[in-house]
Symmetry: C2
C-alpha cells in the first residue's frame, strides 16, 4: 500500500504528524471570533477513538472466512482503526459525525484487493452473499461519497484500492499512461515525472486522492484549463462490476455510438469500481508563471477572465476571489503584524486608484514551454490592464502555489474551536454568473445568520471563480460559521439546503467538481429530470442488478 493508513488522520485531514501551524496563534483565533460576531471561541476537541464504541461487525463467520480464503488474513481487516478510518469521508457532515464519535456507518470489514480479477471475484461473491460494497480510493470525498452505508443489506464491506497502485505502461508516442486506479496523486506524478511527463490533475486533495477517485467523481484539478477535466484526459477505463468487466477501450475520437467512458465518469462506485485507467499526458512544463492582479470589482475580474478564455489564451489557471475572500485573506495575513508606513502608503495608493472594499484579487497561472508561457502571461497582463487591474507581481502567485494543497489542514483546528467550515461549488454560463453568485452568497449568509448559536453571530462567505470555460465558469464558496452545538448536523443541513436550492433555482449545476455522493442527492432529480434519473437507474440495473454497490450515493 502506497500510504500507510495509520499515518493519516482517521477523523480529519492529511498526515497525522502534520503540525497545526495555527495552534498557538491566539491572535488569529481572536480575530476570527470577531469576524463571526462571537465574543470568543470554544474548545470542541474530537472524541478519541479509544473512547468510541464501534458497532460489532455484522459479517457472518462463513462469509468472513471465505473472504480470508480469497485474500489472506492481512487483506481482510476489521480492527477498530481500519473500520473507523473507512467509515466516512471528508465532508463537513462526515467530520461532524467522526468527531462526535458516531461510527454507526463503520464497514463490517475492509478488503484490500490487488488487481481487476480480485475485484471482480469479490463483487461476484458479495452479490451472491447480499453484502454491500463501498469502493474507497483516498477517501477524500467532500460530498459523502464513501460512507460505508449498507443500504438495504445486512452488512457492508469497503474495498480499499490502495494496494492497486502500479503504473502499468507509458506510451510515449501517444502520450498516454495506464495505471491501476488506487495510485495516489504524488505516486502517479512522480512516476510520470521520471519519464518527463505529467497528467497535470491537481485537485486540492491531490496528496491524498487517487486516480480512480478522480475518474469516479468526474473531477477537475486546479489546472484543468490546461490539463483538462477527468472527461478530457480519460482515454479508457476498466470498470469491475457484479456483472463482469466493462472495458471502455477508448479511442482518440470515435462516433461508434455513445462512448462508455462517459458512463464510468461520474459513476461514483454505484455502477462499478474503476480498477485501471489509461490517461492522456502532457510533457512536464518547462516553466511556470503565476502572478497576482487586483481588479476593482468581481464583475470586472470575471469579464477579464471571460475575455481571456474567449481569446483562446492558454492559461493553466485564472482564479478570481470575490471582494470578501480578498478582504478576508488580506486581513488574516495582517493579523499580528504591525502596520507600518509602507502598508499605509500602499493603502493610500490603492485608495487614490479607486481600489476600495470591492477590490478582487486574481491569480493568473501559466505552465508549459517558456515562449508560450511568456507570451500568454503578457497577453493576460494586457487584458488585465484593459480592464483596469493593478499587477501585484509574482509574490501572490508563488504564495498560492506553495499553499495549493494546504487549505484542508486548517479545517481541523477550526473544528476544534467550535467553528464550522464547509465548501460548495457550482458552474453556469457567463450570462448567468452574476445572478447565481448573488443568490448563493445571499442564501449562505441568511442561513448562517438564522442558525447562529447567539444573537449577532454570523458566518463569512468567501467565493472565487476557480475554473473557466468558453461558455461559462465555476463558482466556489467557502463558508465559516460558529457552530450551533446543540444541533450541528441540523444547522449544516439548513445552510447546505439553502445554498443548494439557490443553485438549483438559478441555473447552476449542483456540483462542478466535487460530485454527488450522499450530500447532493436531493438536487439530482431537478438537475437530471425524472427521465434522466431513469436512464441512470437503467445503467445501474444493467451493471449492478442487486444494487450492492455504494448504496445511497449518486442516484436518489
Amino acid at each position: 500500500m502506497s500510504i500507510d493508513r495509520t499515518k493519516i488522520r482517521w477523523n480529519g485531514w492529511g498526515w497525522a504528524a502534520h503540525k497545526d501551524a495555527l495552534g498557538a496563534r491566539e491572535d488569529i483565533w481572536a480575530w476570527l471570533a470577531s469576524e463571526l460576531g462571537m465574543p470568543s471561541l470554544l474548545a470542541t476537541p474530537p472524541r478519541p477513538l479509544d473512547d468510541i464504541p464501534l458497532p460489532p461487525p455484522r459479517l457472518d463467520a462463513d462469509t468472513r472466512g471465505e473472504l480470508v480464503a480469497m485474500l489472506g488474513p492481512d487483506r481482510v481487516r476489521d480492527d477498530a482503526y481500519e473500520r473507523a478510518f473507512h467509515a466516512l469521508g471528508q465532508s463537513y457532515h462526515d467530520l461532524l459525525r467522526l468527531r462526535a464519535g458516531d461510527l454507526t456507518l463503520a464497514p463490517d470489514a475492509v478488503l484490500y484487493p490487488r488487481g481487476s480479477d480480485e475485484v471482480l471475484a469479490l463483487l461476484a461473491f458479495c452479490a451472491e452473499r447480499d453484502v454491500a460494497v463501498v469502493p474507497y480510493g483516498g477517501g477524500t470525498s467532500v460530498v459523502g461519497g464513501v460512507s460505508a452505508a449498507p443500504g438495504a443489506f445486512h452488512s457492508v464491506v469497503t474495498l480499499d484500492l490502495s494496494g492497486m497502485d502500479r503504473l502499468i505502461d507509458v506510451d510515449t508516442a501517444a502520450r498516454t499512461a495506464t495505471a491501476e486506479a488506487g495510485i495516489y496523486g504524488p505516486a502517479l506524478e512522480n512516476a510520470l515525472a521520471a519519464k518527463g511527463m505529467t497528467l497535470g490533475h491537481f485537485p486540492q486533495s491531490f496528496e491524498f486522492s487517487t486516480l480512480g477517485g478522480w475518474i469516479a467523481h468526474r473531477g477537475a484539478g486546479q489546472g484543468s484549463s490546461r490539463y483538462g477535466r477527468a472527461e478530457d484526459w480519460l482515454v479508457g477505463a476498466k470498470l469491475a462490476t457484479p456483472k463482469g468487466l466493462l472495458d471502455t477501450n477508448g479511442f482518440p475520437g470515435s462516433s461508434a455510438g455513445p462512448q462508455l467512458n462517459d458512463v464510468v465518469l461520474g459513476s461514483e462506485g454505484a455502477f462499478g469500481i474503476v480498477t485501471e485507467a489509461t490517461v492522456r499526458l502532457h510533457p512536464q512544463p518547462g516553466c511556470h508563471d503565476y502572478r497576482g492582479y487586483l481588479f476593482r470589482d468581481f464583475a470586472t475580474g470575471a469579464a477579464a477572465i471571460r475575455a481571456a478564455v474567449q481569446d483562446e489564451l492558454p492559461a493553466t489557471m485564472l482564479r478570481l476571489s470575490d471582494a470578501e475572500e480578498t478582504r478576508f485573506y488580506r486581513a488574516y495575513g495582517a493579523v499580528g503584524k504591525k502596520r507600518g508606513l509602507k502598508d499605509r502608503l500602499a493603502q493610500m495608493f490603492l485608495d487614490t486608484r479607486g481600489f476600495d472594499a470591492k477590490a478582487c484579487a486574481l491569480i493568473a497561472g501559466f505552465e508549459g514551454e517558456r515562449p508560450m508561457v511568456e507570451a500568454s502571461q503578457k497577453h493576460f497582463a494586457a487584458i488585465a490592464k484593459r480592464f483596469g487591474a493593478l499587477s501585484l507581481g509574482r509574490g501572490p502567485g508563488e504564495r498560492w502555489r506553495e499553499g495549493r494543497f494546504h487549505g484542508p489542514y486548517s479545517r481541523d483546528p477550526m473544528m476544534d474551536r467550535g467553528l464550522g467550515v464547509d465548501t460548495l461549488e457550482t458552474a453556469t454560463r457567463w450570462s448567468n454568473i452574476d445572478a447565481l453568485y448573488a443568490a448563493v452568497r445571499g442564501a449562505l449568509d441568511a442561513a448562517m445568520r438564522e442558525t447562529a448559536p447567539r444573537p449577532g453571530a454570523h458566518g463569512v462567505v468567501l467565493a472565487h471563480i476557480s475554473h473557466s470555460y468558453n461558455d461559462g465558469a465555476s463558482l466556489y464558496f467557502t463558508y465559516i460559521f460558529p457552530r450551533a452545538l446543540d444541533d450541528e448536523i441540523g444547522q449544516w443541513r439548513k445552510i447546505k439546503t439553502a445554498a443548494s436550492d439557490a443553485i438549483a433555482a438559478h441555473g447552476g449545476t449542483i456540483s462542478h467538481h466535487h460530485g454527488i455522493g450522499e450530500d447532493h442527492l436531493p438536487w439530482m432529480a431537478q438537475e437530471k429530470g425524472a427521465l434522466g434519473l431513469e436512464v441512470l437507474r437503467a445503467i445501474k440495473q444493467a451493471l449492478d442488478p442487486k444494487g450492492i454497490l455504494n448504496p445511497g450515493k449518486l442516484i436518489p
Copy 2:
C-alpha cells in the same frame, strides 16, 4: 421547410440540378478504367422512379387519419416521391438499392412535425399504435442510419425534421446558440454569421445535413481540431422519446454524475429524437490560411502532424494524403493536359530532392484572428521543414477549400459507369497508426481483387489522416472498384467486412465520425463488449421500451 425535397436527388447526392462536370470527359473515364485494370467502363444508369413499384403503404386508415388530424394533410405524405426519397440514406449499400429500384424499405408515411411537443405527441401515438419511427434530418448517413426499416413492427413512418429549423436564441456573452435540430448546415451558419459567429462544424455533408444529425451520430467536421467534435460543442439537447422529453440541461462543466449529453451523442435516433440543441460558438474567423506541403512518405507526414498537435499548435485542419491518394489525384488532375517543359522541370526538381512515388501531400489549414493564424502557419511551416517537407504554397490549400463539399457529387457519375466507390474511416493511437493503416489498406486491396468482375481488374485505395489528436489520429479510406454486376451487394459486403475486420483486429474504432447505423452493427459487440452492449440496451429500454425507434440501427 428549408430545402425543398423535390430539388434534391432522391437516389444520389445533392441538388437535382447540379451539373455533372465529368459527364463529357471521356478521357477521364478511359484513365479511370486503366487505373482499375478494366478495358473500358460500362453504362449502368439508375432505374427511374416512375418505373419502380413501391410496396403499398401499410398504415391502416384509422392510424393515418389520426396522424392527419394531428398534423394536417400537408404534413403527412405518402406519395411515391416522398416515400422513395426517405427510404434510404447515402451509404454505398443504400445507393446500390436505390439505383436498382429496391424500395422495399420505403416508409409507409413521411411526417413533418414542428416543435418538440409535436414530436413527443407523435412518438407517444406511434408507441401506442406499434408503428416504428425513423428520424430523418438531411438523410446523408453513409452507414445506413436512416433506412425506413420497420423492425418487428407492421408499419413504419419517417419523421422528417426539416420543418424544425429555427435559430431560437444566441447568447453572445456565453457564445452559445440554441436551434431546432432540423436546421441545415448552411442555414445555421448563415444565421450565425449575421451575428458574427460560427459553429464551425463542416462535415463533407455540410450542405445537406442537419444539426440534429450531427449530434445524433456524434460527428466531427473537417475543422474539428479547432471547432471540436459534436461532443465538444454540444452544451445541451432536448431528446424527445416515447417516455417523454429528456432535457440534458448542460453546464460549462459538471461533476453531477454521468452527463446526459453523452447519452444523446451517438444515439442515432435509437434512444429518442433530438429536437433542439444548444451549442458552443466561435467568432467568425478573421482570416484563413490553407497551404500544401509534400512529405517524402506517409510516416514522415504523420510524424509532423503528431509533432504539431503535441506542440499544441492551434491548427484547424492537418490532412495528410497517403502516397496512393497523392498520386491518384495528381494523375487525375493531369488527365487531358499536355505535359510541358515546366512539368518536366518540376518533376526533375522533385526527383533530385528525393520525392518519389512514396511522396505524400498534406494540407495545413488555420483559421482565426490574423496574428494567431500567421504565427501558427509559420510554426507549422517550421515543423514541416524539420521533417524534410517541401512547401507547395497556397494553391493546393485553396483548391481543397473550394472543393471541400464536392466529393460526394462525383460518386453518382461513377455509379453510372459500373464503378463502386465507398469510404470508411477509423481512429487509433499514434503508436498504432502504421499497423492499422497497413492492415486496412491490405484488406481492402485483397478483397477488391477477390471480388473483381474479371481477371486482372482491381480497385484503388486512397487514404488520408483527416483528424488528429494528442493521442492519435483518424484514418479515412476511399476505395474505387469495378462492380461485380451479378452480385453487387455481396461484393460490397465482402469488401466492407474485410476492412472492418481488419480495423477491429488492429485496435481501431469501427467509426471515427460516420457512426454505426446498419452497416457497422456487426462490429459493435467487439468494440463495446458484451457488457457495454447491455448498457446501451438498458438505456434504450428506459427511453423506448417498445423499441419503436429506428429499428436495426446502433444496437445489434
